[in-house]
Symmetry: C3
Subunit: 350 residues, 3 copies
């Protein structure tokens, strides 16, 4: 249950949205909730018939329901009949959040460490104990949460939100409207060594990371800097928690990397690619536009455009599913095979 400082009425909500309000009583709505935790001040949504019991038992004050919903099923509750209950409910949540955001009075915390060489735009928020290196640029309306460390020469565009305890190494460039969740490490050294005479000699890592507009990066993910040049996360791509992106990778636009995905160095991911959870991709490969890779797959070669791959090593998902389906037959097949081999030998010997 998310409570807002600002309350709304069912009428106020329905006046903003192109749906049909069935109002049994006037009420003050103060929160959004799931059906089964709702109280009389809650707004909820109902779409999936699986949750019909939750709907019937819900104490919610207003429920978004589908257009073809039978209102007699929930006679005592204000209902908003609407084409896509979930989408419109979420749009309401977004608006309500924006209306409720309180002004932060201290924009730059006195405990933040900000050298004179920093260039901080208008309405930037820098919270407690943030440490900026030399020549850092942060453009307007960006927000750096407490205990982040932003090293020398980092550039952060406008409207970014960097959550607490994140580290951004020197020279990295974050463009506009980027969200970086807590604990991320952007720009740590790529994993590069030259093995000579039994010892791994570190290769200096002097490239950077460039994160384009509208990217979101989940908690505790790590994006390594390039050895030379840049590791790039393209416009609108979304990265989940605990993801590893190796040095010199290039991720295209609007791609999705789910939690715990790992990319080895110098791999290219196209546009609108989908990598499900825990997928691993070897180095120096190319996954082309529109490809979809199933969870935990291991990618050891290039993936063609719009291909669906699955498995370890990953192959065409359709074939892989057929293989998965028949694998449980293997013990039986091997028994049959052993019997046949024995028969053949007996024939040869007789």
């Amino acid at each position: 249950m998310k409570k807002f400082k600002l309350y709304l009425t069912s009428k106020q909500i329905s006046s903003q949205i192109d749906g049909k309000l069935i109002e049994f009583h006037q009420n003050d709505l103060t929160n959004v909730a799931e059906l089964n935790e709702a109280d009389e001040h809650s707004v909820c949504f109902y779409e999936n018939p699986k949750y019909i019991d939750d709907l019937k038992n819900s104490k919610a004050g207003l429920i978004f329901v589908p257009e073809d919903f039978d209102p007699t099923l929930k006679m005592d509750t204000n209902l908003l009949l609407i084409e896509k209950p979930y989408i419109h409910f979420m749009m309401l949540v977004q608006k309500w959040l924006e209306m409720s955001t309180s002004e932060i009075i201290e924009k730059i915390s006195r405990s933040a460490s900000i050298p004179k060489s920093a260039n901080i735009g208008k309405n930037v928020i820098v919270r407690s104990n943030v440490v900026l290196g030399e020549n850092v640029i942060i453009e307007e309306k960006s927000r750096i949460e407490s205990n982040c460390v932003i090293q020398d020469n980092v550039q952060i565009g406008s409207n970014c939100h960097v959550y607490p305890n994140t580290t951004i190494y020197e020279d990295c460039i974050i463009k506009n409207n980027v969200i970086i969740h807590a604990g991320c490490v952007i720009g740590a050294d790529g994993f590069g060594y030259v093995f000579d005479q039994g010892i791994h000699h570190k290769v200096p890592q002097v490239g950077n990371v460039i994160i384009e507009d509208n990217v979101e990066i989940g908690a505790n993910s790590t994006i390594d800097r390039a050895t030379i040049g840049s590791t790039v996360i393209g416009k609108g791509s979304k990265i989940d928690n605990l993801v590893q992106v190796g040095h010199n990778c290039k991720i295209g636009e609007n791609s999705i990397l789910c939690a715990q995905v790992g990319l080895a160095g110098s791999t290219e991911i196209g546009n609108i690619v989908y990598l499900a959870g825990q997928v691993g991709v070897a180095g120096h490969l190319k996954i082309n536009d529109g490809a979809m890779i199933g969870a935990q797959s291991g990618i050891s070669g290039d993936v063609p455009q719009n291909a669906k791959y699955l498995g370890y090593p990953a192959i065409d998902a359709g074939l892989q599913k057929r293989i998965f389906a028949v694998q449980r037959k293997l013990p039986e097949i091997v028994r049959f095979f052993n019997k046949k081999i024995k028969e053949e030998k007996q024939k040869e010997n007789s």
Copy 2:
């Protein structure tokens, strides 16, 4: 080797424990150690015959050994004969730790940032550079280590221990006796987008995380907040390092998630479930009470109560092990199969 500020004698130790002391000499014991690193002031245990040589060579001052141990094997060392040496040794370690804990004089660090709206209980410890948001509640005897960030409206119960550099996002609820190790991120946004016209539109994430009593969460793990409602970690469950729990997951009581496990969104884990290392679980599934899942397994469907599953995709562990056992026969089988196909074709053609 763990050295304690408080020293004990073999007699003092044995007087607390229901075992039989064979004392060759009086001594001051100041530390616990492994057999092979021990000095004359060390207490050790011996249980597994694999380590008999370490026992014989050990310089330990006191060794917990099994009741049926032959003392002539270690004539010069004080021995404590006892039913379960390891368990009783660990109980001693626990007690010794508690006796040795020194008082912390500064309970609330002056460098911590604590707004007036915070509600801090008795004997709470808040260390250096901790940043609390508005309306945070921390109940008695809890301890927040240095450089943690606890955002608005977070509630932390009594006797909790939050290690350094942890971030807890707004509205999350941590109950009593919870341990959260360093670098964890509790309550970051769930990974939710609506894909429309080639762009991923962020779904607002306004639920929270609820962590019940006696949970322990390992270093750098991430527990995402629910979209609406709560992500819940049930009473007594234990989560290892680098684990990802997606938004709206519900984990039951006394379950175990080993390192690097990943749960996609809205998945339910029952009570006393065991997920070994690097297991991945798809979204919207149910793993029922008592199920045990082998390491690196990929769960793509519900798992019945008390089932043992293994593999990718995971199936009954017994069948999976039989499949693993015969898989190495595959190249031979395929040769046999190709030969047969060829023979059949020749027959048809002749």
Copy 3:
């Protein structure tokens, strides 16, 4: 592109390196870059013919090329002909970095929290908001970046570099020339419980972590402390990002653990072992010297010296690759097998 504060000329660079300079014009060089992002002040290298177009179009001021390179291919640019362009280029980068390092004036930040009991060597750098526990030792020339937390009794040798937001738990020992990247957690509790009467009872974790000379650990990795004794990372071993090393593991010298590898408790890794990305290793195993394990493999038994293993569960890599190659035949084999079974049954019945 990495810009240095100090500029060099082509002559100055070539005078340091045993190659042959072909100089078309004198120039000031200020940065190192990839061929395709270079400007007239850039030094680049060219080695792989795949990048010949980048070479031809490059605006670089000086390019390291192989000894047998035909200079007429790039008439307008200063060239340095040399045996191993990449290696020598990287050696230049390393030297240039060292020459360009500016003196840090404030060696110990006033916002760092350093108790009187700390023992800090000469030329140690401790940046903003670092929190040291009691009795911490940091030897000369080591550098602790902002917002790190180093708990009681930790020892850090000379020439170490600990990046921001890292946590080192009490009693851990870091030797010399160790690099620990941002967000690491060294010495968190091992994952140990005793299950009794339906509840997991925590086993106290009182060992430590020892990190030997010349180790590098990637961002957000976690190395758990031993239950008793020590978790050890041997001399010269290199660990990538998001790696989990369980309690009581012993890693030998000069081994490589790629990103997202996980080791369960008490496992031993020998010298010059290579674990590719996302490999998982069960507990209490031994991977012997020189073994190489392919990406995402699951190790469930000991691995012999110099063995190459691959797969889930991992077996000899050669055999595994043959199995992978024939797996796609499985659906066809199963059809053949079902046909044969049917034929045999018909024979029996007729």
